[in-house]
């Protein structure tokens, strides 16, 4: 018998008795329901802004839905069309490519910076807070500044490159150069964020582990790979999944890099899935098709997170 049913049966017994004071009944109701009220705001907000849009988008994706026109139910036609749409596959290729290009160095950098910050250095708090500054910068400002850095004729990066006697790069024109430029923007912004999370986890590792390792003669790098990394596993999984979700939804950086247009370059070199979704739904007004892209992206993120989870678990074992 669970504890709540104990309360209920005894309450019922006393209610039958008819002599339970009003005040104690309120107290009991308070104990029972107050927790639900406390957590209610989250669930109400989640239902309104999380679950409902998700389900509704699924419903829209089964329609031929013009944003300000007709809605016709078409079953899964949008999805079958999507799988034979070369533009969607191109966007997917770009998204995954930029994601890999950005996330792998990002997490490695975050890990090493966190390791440095975990030592006894001067002005520790200053540096620890400092790594987070890029993250609180407005993403639009980041895009504008980096868009200027990577401009073909007036960009600082090309200025440096040509100073070394190399040819200027038309950053937007090639797939590889545009991916690098966007990955740099993403890394600049998110490395510090992951650093702080990893640093927090590092500080939770008991110091005596390191002390005994030192006594056994383990070099610092051995301590890092044998103690720090394995014990960081749950946190690494967390950062990987957060980066996966963020990386697959990449939108603002490539949009601003492409002068605010959804095309992602002349031949879609850096059009991501979210850009393609926006273009379809809000520029071509094919709302149903856009919703199908959104749901496919949702599925992809789930799949990618699971794959990452497996890889990270295995690698850190």
């Amino acid at each position: 018998m669970t504890s709540s049913s104990v309360i209920r049966s005894s309450a019922a017994a006393r209610a039958a008795d008819g002599r339970v004071p009003w005040r104690s009944r309120l107290t009991r109701a308070d104990m029972k329901y107050a927790p639900y009220f406390f957590i209610a705001p989250f669930f109400v907000l989640f239902l309104v802004f999380g679950a409902f849009p998700l389900v509704y988008t699924g419903w829209v994706s089964l329609h031929d839905w013009h944003l300000i026109g007709d809605h016709t139910f078409v079953w899964f036609d949008n999805y079958t069309a999507l799988f034979s749409d070369p533009d969607f596959w191109n966007a997917l290729k770009n998204t995954v490519g930029i994601f890999v290009l950005a996330t792998v160095p990002q997490l490695l950098m975050a890990l090493s910076v966190a390791n440095l910050l975990n030592r006894k250095i001067r002005a520790r708090t200053f540096f620890r807070m400092g790594v987070l500054i890029p993250n609180v910068t407005s993403v639009a400002a980041v895009g504008i500044v980096f868009g200027q850095l990577f401009a073909r004729d007036v960009g600082l990066v090309n200025y440096v490159i040509t100073a070394f006697g190399l040819d200027a790069v038309d950053w937007q024109a090639n797939w590889w150069s545009s991916w690098i430029a966007i990955a740099v923007m993403v890394d600049w912004r998110w490395t510090g964020y992951n650093t702080l999370i990893l640093l927090g986890a590092m500080q939770a590792i008991p110091k005596d582990l390191y002390e005994s390792a030192s006594l056994d003669g383990a070099a610092p790098w051995q301590q890092f790979w044998r103690i720090t990394v394995p014990l960081l596993r749950p946190t690494l999984v967390f950062t990987v999944i957060i980066s996966t979700i963020g990386g697959l939804q990449l939108f603002t950086e490539p949009v601003i890099f492409g002068n605010g247009r959804m095309l992602g370059g002349t031949l879609g070199q850096f059009q991501t899935v979210t850009m393609y979704m926006y273009e379809t739904a809000f520029q071509r007004f094919q709302y149903g098709y856009g919703a199908a892209i959104a749901w496919s992206l949702f599925g992809l993120i789930v799949v990618f997170s699971l794959i990452n989870l497996l890889i990270v678990r295995r690698a850190a074992r």
Binding site: R23, L26, T27, A29, D30, A34, F37, F38, A40, P41, V44, L45, V48, L67, I68, G69, D87, G147, Q148, A151, R152, D153, V154, G155, D170, Q172, A173, N174, N259, G260, R261, L263, G265, T266, L267, Y278, F282, Q283, R284, F285, Q286
Partner: protein, 431 residues
């Protein structure tokens, strides 16, 4: 705190949290107050030159309060407005519709007030006949938009760079350099041969392509039955071939319009000329900055006048004050309103009365070496022929043809491959 009080506090907190969720979406600002005060919102993209006009309107109509909302880029404005229309709330009481949007929204005329019901018929004489007709859905349908501006065409050029290249700098003489597009290219070759330090003669070929299409009159990508004819219309092919020639002759600076390099290019003198429909003057001035005042001038466009761009003002049916909104739109599009807007921001009037107005004809632009812009842009305006634009004209031009041309400029595609690519994308956009 007693138990009862705690219970009450929790309940109140939970209810407040839940009701807050509901409260966000409510728009309470649209009802007229008891004293007959009316709040109107005007939505435009870019600068329509309405600031002074609105101030005047509020002085003349003390019970009306007008808020001007402007989104810089048409690309951002259009999805926003569409979402407002789809949601049935949020749009301004008066909204600007650019020619491309207008055609797309005409397929859903139920979203807009029929201005004829508000008595707009008596305004017809104030507009160029075709401008009036385009605001209507079919010959007998409802009138959803009152014309604002038309896209007069000219070429803006840098006098200092022309002087460096030993080309004439006087605007009459410059205009005589290029009666045709071929002669324009010849001049461009002369310019690039002079090695002035600029990256090219013209910023990019996409703007020239637009200019050529708008000169063609009649049809572009669509025929009169809204069928996509981009692959077979000789007008499109002709404009394409001339643009490709500009690239192959090295006349283009290959700087994509609206890019960071483009904005900086005005300041740095990366190119010597750019196409300028009259609304472009303000953009050139902003990008070039005060340091370059007097270096730009305005000359005639090769191949004769053309009609690039132009907008209408419409009243969405979701407006709570259609009557007052119509009155405001009528005022803003009146001949006097159009002259004032031109003076402030450069959109060329669509009203014959405004175009004949001596005050308009006498207008000059001090930033552009005191060019008589009223005369330059006004002269051909009345003889402009409208281009038949299909529902997705703008999308086909901006998302199919322009990227393909830029890919050629970037050296990513051959002209033939790019043409195939453009047609393929055009079919997708037109779907």
């Amino acid at each position: 705190m007693s138990q009862t009080k705690r219970f009450l506090a929790v309940t109140v907190a939970a209810v407040t949290a839940m009701s807050m969720v509901g409260a966000c979406s409510k728009n309470t600002d649209t009802k007229p107050a008891a004293d007959g005060q009316v709040n109107l919102v005007v939505d435009t993209f870019g600068d329509f030159g309405y600031k002074a006009l609105v101030a005047q309107y509020q002085t003349d109509h003390p019970n009306v309060k007008v808020e001007l909302r402007s989104v810089q880029k048409l690309d951002d404005y259009k999805p926003k407005l569409t979402q407002y229309l789809a949601a049935g709330t949020g749009a301004g009481d008066v909204v600007a519709l650019e020619e491309g949007i207008l055609n797309e929204f005409k397929t859903q005329p139920q979203n807009f007030v029929n201005l004829l019901d508000q008595g707009a018929a008596d305004q017809q004489a104030n507009f160029l006949p075709w401008k009036w007709e385009l605001g209507r859905v079919g010959a007998d349908g409802p009138l959803i938009g009152l014309g604002t501006d038309v896209g007069g065409l000219a070429v803006c050029y840098r006098k200092d760079l022309f002087a460096k290249a030993k080309l004439p700098t006087d605007r009459e003489a410059v205009s005589k350099l290029w009666p045709t597009w071929d002669e324009f290219i010849t001049t461009g070759k002369k310019f690039t041969a002079a090695n002035t330090g600029a990256k090219g003669f013209v910023d990019s070929v996409t703007t020239s392509f637009s200019a050529m299409l708008s000169q063609a009159g009649d049809t572009n990508f669509y025929d009169r039955d809204n069928k996509l004819i981009a692959d077979s219309n000789p007008v499109v092919r002709q404009a394409w071939d001339t643009s490709m020639k500009m690239v192959s002759e090295g006349v283009s600076a290959k700087i994509a319009t609206w890019s960071k390099d483009w904005e900086a290019g005005f300041k740095n003198g990366s190119f010597a000329v750019t196409m300028c429909p009259s609304w472009m003057l303000g953009i050139i001035k902003t990008n070039s900055g005060a340091a370059n005042a007097g270096k730009w001038d305005v000359a005639a466009v090769p191949g004769g006048g053309g009609n690039w761009g132009g907008s209408w003002l419409a009243v969405p049916t979701q407006s709570k004050h259609p009557k007052e909104a119509y009155e405001l739109a009528k005022f803003l599009t009146s001949p006097e309103g159009q002259v004032a807007a031109f003076k402030e921001a450069g959109p060329l009037p669509s009203s014959p009365k405004a175009l004949d107005d001596p005050a308009f004809l006498a207008l000059t632009n001090d930033y552009f070496s005191n060019a008589p812009v009223g005369k330059i842009f006004g002269e051909g305006a009345k003889s402009l022929k409208p281009v038949v634009l299909g529902p997705k004209h703008q999308a086909v031009k901006e998302r199919a043809f322009e990227p393909a041309m830029q890919a050629v400029e970037q050296g990513k595609l051959t002209p033939d491959k790019a043409w195939q690519q453009a047609l393929k994308s055009a079919v997708k956009e037109a779907k």
